[in-house]
Amino acid sequence: MAGDGVDATILQLLQDNDWLDTKDIARQLGKDHQLVVGAVKSLQSLGDVITAEQRVSKWWELTGEGQLVVENGSHEAVLYRAIPPEGVLQKKLMESIPNAKVGFSNAMKKKWIHMDKTGANGPVVKQAVSAIEDDVQKTVQDIAANQGEGVDNKVKQEMKKRKLIQEVGLWKEKKFKPYNFDALGVPPVSGHLHPLLKVRAQFRQIFLEMGFTEMKTNNYIESSFWNFDTLFVPQQHPARDEHDTFFIKEPMYAQGFPEEYMDKVKTVHSQGGFGSQGYQYEWKREEAQKNVLRTHTTAVSARMLYQLAQQQKDGFKPVKLFSIDRVFRNETLDATHLAEFNQIEGVVADYNLTLGDLMGVLHAFFKKLGIEKLRFKPAYNPYTEPSMEVFSYHEGLQKWVEVGNSGVFRPEMLLPMGLPEDITVIAWGLSLERPTMIKYGIDNIRELVGHKINLQMVYDNPICQLTS
């Protein structure tokens, strides 16, 4: 047992007492106070043996002024004694002793002295009583002897007010065990945001900083018409294969198409027009009616552009649009591919934009992600021409990696909508998951998205600073 049998002694003492103060025990046993506290704690840990409560320990000590009072008497007593039997000029008295002002006023209050103002040379002070009892000195002496214990609190407060005593904390005489600054602190109880959505917040921020307006993308179910046909994706395109796209069994078909526009789409696919040869195949309405889980947010961009084309009463107003939302692919799943992911998309529709403008906007966008070195590779995409894959130089991997896709929307897509010929629409897209995985060093996408996520990773995840 700890404490050299102190614990047993404490139990014995407690048999005769309802309660004990550890300080008294320490004094009584002549042991160090900490040793007694340790013994109490070990007794507490046994369970229902003793109860203990913490008491704040404070004591009083004399100030420098208080020390003088102990040695010489209170200021009023010193003043009283300085007055000769015949009295003395007040002026002279005040100069003859220290703290005379306080002493004078207290002595007056206690009626130990009185003043004779008839003298020609000014007021004269005389003793009013023949003897005094210096209660203040006695009180201060008592306090000094017992560190304030047993003295009425009111009296102590008065002495404190007179700055004769001061309160002292226990810490002053204690030795403290040094802290281990190499240990971690206690983690705060917290809620956490999802890492992927923290990165999403940064991308939204970037678009907003660049003056882009967010599109309303909360429609996961889309018709093939808006998902493919309006984007000039031919009906036999592999992307429309059931191995690539989720088709909907219920509700299977969409309805309420803008018929006039649909007709133009049909024509541009099957016969061409607007300067195009078209794809020259038999376009089927039924194929366009099929509902799918949207394969890209570009379906929403198409709806937006069509809507803008219908609203241009006073001419087309240039727009910059963005969205970040879920899209779906019926693909084979692996460590980097899921059946659903978030697509980031930016769209600019303005008069006479150039391919150089697209590259300039991309440069500005990626710079905000901390990516400065970009190069562009010609690519193919059914609804953009020219099309470009965006590559950035990855310093860690020491090679160029693809970071996005981009292009200029085809006239076959824009002109049937009714957009003016001199309006160019540039667009780019990338996935949200890929940069997030790179940012947080996650190899398996299932550890980031979905129910197999590691919550510890979420709890430990830092804020998202894309530029560092």
Binding site: G191, A201, N330, Y351, P378, Y380, R410
Partner: protein, 588 residues
């Protein structure tokens, strides 16, 4: 995107120089191609089969990614031709269809019965070819690539190539009941009926993918020569009799199709590339197709089309300022022979190899590629616009912040799930869920779009059971429901869901979160007016007597309660759970 494998040494020999891997990668990149992998036949076999491939060639193979619309680049010959023209080491050849030296074209007569299954056919002859092993392999590979891409896995077009000297025209393209078709198919030693063949190929890893195209048709397409020899049964298999060998000199090519335009494209793509090996390079012997109504058509079409492009428009679109001459030269390097016809116009000739050029914007892109994407000056559009957020997303983000600040951790579950997730496991039936059903899911995980966020959070807890308790999780995301009022007959709805998982049920914790949530949206507690309150409700997902519905303006917007022990068990959890789910949109 299609990927082709070419022998590196052969490629360099044809290109007239060698390249380091980096140099070649650079060249590919500028042309819009990608050097995907450097490998060898041996390495590929070993990767595929996981064993040492004894005797396989170790010659270096470059695997190159080709844009999906560049059918002219799908083999070594086409790739080399395009690159040499790009580097101005060669002029683009001019392709010609000529009548045969004998004067009589090979005829392919289409019978009416084909209309029931595969109505179109085109044909042509490559004359005086001298095959080497490499050429032969490339010829086979190209057909394979075309079949995969342009032919849409043979559904739109199927190619058959034959040793012309083993058969005799005119050829008959007919369609017959499967039992009446009997021949020795390619690489087999005996004859099979079409019925037997379909059975035989069910276990063929390659051919089984094409059977569905004709399987349930009453008649199958078949091509005979005048003596009744079967050339092919498209789109499945050719006959052994007319098989191409290294000794073949004259090749008869037929393409049968459901899409005539695609058939012409396929035939043109094949003959333009391989006419290089003909007696007279780049000339193709025309074939004659007689349609059921007696019309005579000559193939290959090999169309040359002219487009006039405006120089100013090209410059403006790309963001460059090149002279008309320079633009004509850039286009010529892209295999589009061009000349300046007046001050500001360039006449562009689109050859039969470039079916991808369907609009002036395709020509503009080739100017940009010729100029070099990375040589174009990067500019910022001048127009000023003011950014804005989508209101629902803005509110969602603000709520997410403060729910996290209330001590709950955000999860992100999938939008797709199994029927059981939203029905059986929640003690409910699927019919009343209003769920959107997916037609072609590859696994159970993608049967429907979720109608509630709760299963996703419960599954997240199930896979994180080692984490300390309590677990306090939430998600604010969209669920999907059928909705007749929308054009797609479905809609998203934004929900807020939170779960408290601990040794005790913690209804009061979730209730407190609801109160906090309402406070955040400035909805006061009140049984009247615009406030919210909760009242007892019955829901099989929750423990009887431990479920309440959330009412706002006399409308039920969500539920909260202690989950039913059956639900806990079905989600493989072992502690009680209190949960809350609310339709956020109903509160805005």
């Amino acid at each position: 995107m299609p990927t082709i494998g070419v022998n590196r040494d052969l490629l360099f020999e044809r290109l007239g120089r060698t390249y380091t891997e980096e140099e070649f990668d650079e060249l590919m990149f500028d042309y819009g191609l990608e050097l995907d992998e450097v490998t060898s036949e041996k390495a590929m076999l070993e990767k595929e089969q996981g064993v040492t491939a004894q005797g396989a060639s170790e010659a270096i193979i470059y695997r190159i990614e080709i844009p999906a619309n560049r059918y002219d680049l799908l083999c070594l010959e086409g790739l080399v031709r395009a690159l040499l023209v790009f580097q101005e080491k060669q002029e683009a050849p001019r392709y010609k269809a000529i009548p045969p030296t004998s004067g009589n074209s090979q005829q392919l007569i289409i019978q009416e019965a084909t209309a029931q299954v595969r109505p179109h056919a085109v044909c042509a002859v490559l004359q005086g070819v001298n095959f080497t092993q490499a050429m032969y392999q490339s010829f086979i590979d190209l057909q394979d690539k075309l079949h995969q891409n342009l032919c849409r896995k043979r559904s739109l077009v199927a190619i058959g190539t034959h040793d012309l000297d083993t058969v005799q025209g005119p050829f008959i393209y007919n369609a017959k009941p499967p039992a009446e078709i009997k021949f020795k198919p390619l690489n087999q030693t005996k004859e099979y009926t079409a019925v037997e063949l379909m059975q035989l190929y069910k276990s063929d890893s390659h051919l089984k993918h094409f059977l569905h195209i004709i399987e349930d048709k009453p008649v199958y397409p078949v091509i005979y020569d005048q003596n009744g020899v079967v050339l092919s049964m498209p789109p499945i298999i050719n006959g052994e009799h007319s098989k191409i060998t290294l000794n073949t000199k004259n090749i008869f090519i037929e393409c049968t199709a459901t899409d005539l335009h695609k058939a012409k494209m396929v035939l043109d793509s094949l003959v333009t590339i391989f006419s290089e090996y003909c007696q007279t390079p780049f000339t193709v012997e025309a074939g004659e197709v007689i349609t059921p109504d007696g019309t005579k058509l000559t193939y290959p079409a090999l169309p040359y089309r002219e487009e006039i492009v405006d120089v100013a428009w090209i410059n403006k679109s790309v963001g460059i300022s090149e002279s008309p001459e320079s633009i004509a030269k850039l286009l010529t390097r892209m295999c589009l022979s061009s000349e300046v016809i007046e001050e500001s116009k360039v006449k562009v000739e689109i050859p039969p190899t470039r079916y991808d050029i369907i609009h002036a914007c395709d020509i503009m892109e080739d100017v940009a590629i010729g100029f070099g994407y990375n040589n174009i000056q990067r500019t910022i559009p001048k127009t000023n616009t003011i950014g804005d957020q989508f209101g629902l997303n803005k509110v969602t983000d603000l709520l997410r912040q403060d729910i996290a600040a209330a001590g709950f951790t955000e999860v992100l579950s999938f939008s797709l799930c199994s029927r059981d997730d939203v029905a059986g496991k929640l003690n409910k039936d699927i019919e009343s869920s209003g769920a959107v059903h997916i037609a072609n899911p590859k696994t159970l995980e993608f049967q429907i779009a979720r109608t509630t966020l709760l299963p996703g959070i419960l599954k997240t807890i199930a896979s994180n059971k080692k984490m300390p308790l309590p677990m306090k999780l939430f998600e604010i995301s969209d669920i999907i429901l059928q909705d007749k009022d929308k054009d797609v007959c479905a809609k998203n709805e934004r929900h807020f869901c939170a779960v408290y998982y601990n040794k005790n049920p913690g209804f009061e914790i979730i209730h407190g979160l609801l109160d906090r949530f309402m406070q955040l949206l400035e909805v006061p507690y009140s049984k009247e007016g615009n406030g919210y309150f909760i009242r007892a409700a019955d829901d099989p997902t929750f423990f009887p007597g431990r479920c309440a519905e959330v009412v706002v303006k006399a409308q039920v917007v969500g539920k909260l309660g202690v989950l039913h022990p059956d639900v806990i068990t079905k989600f493989e959890l072992n502690n009680p759970c209190a949960a809350l789910e609310i339709n956020v949109e109903a509160l805005l």
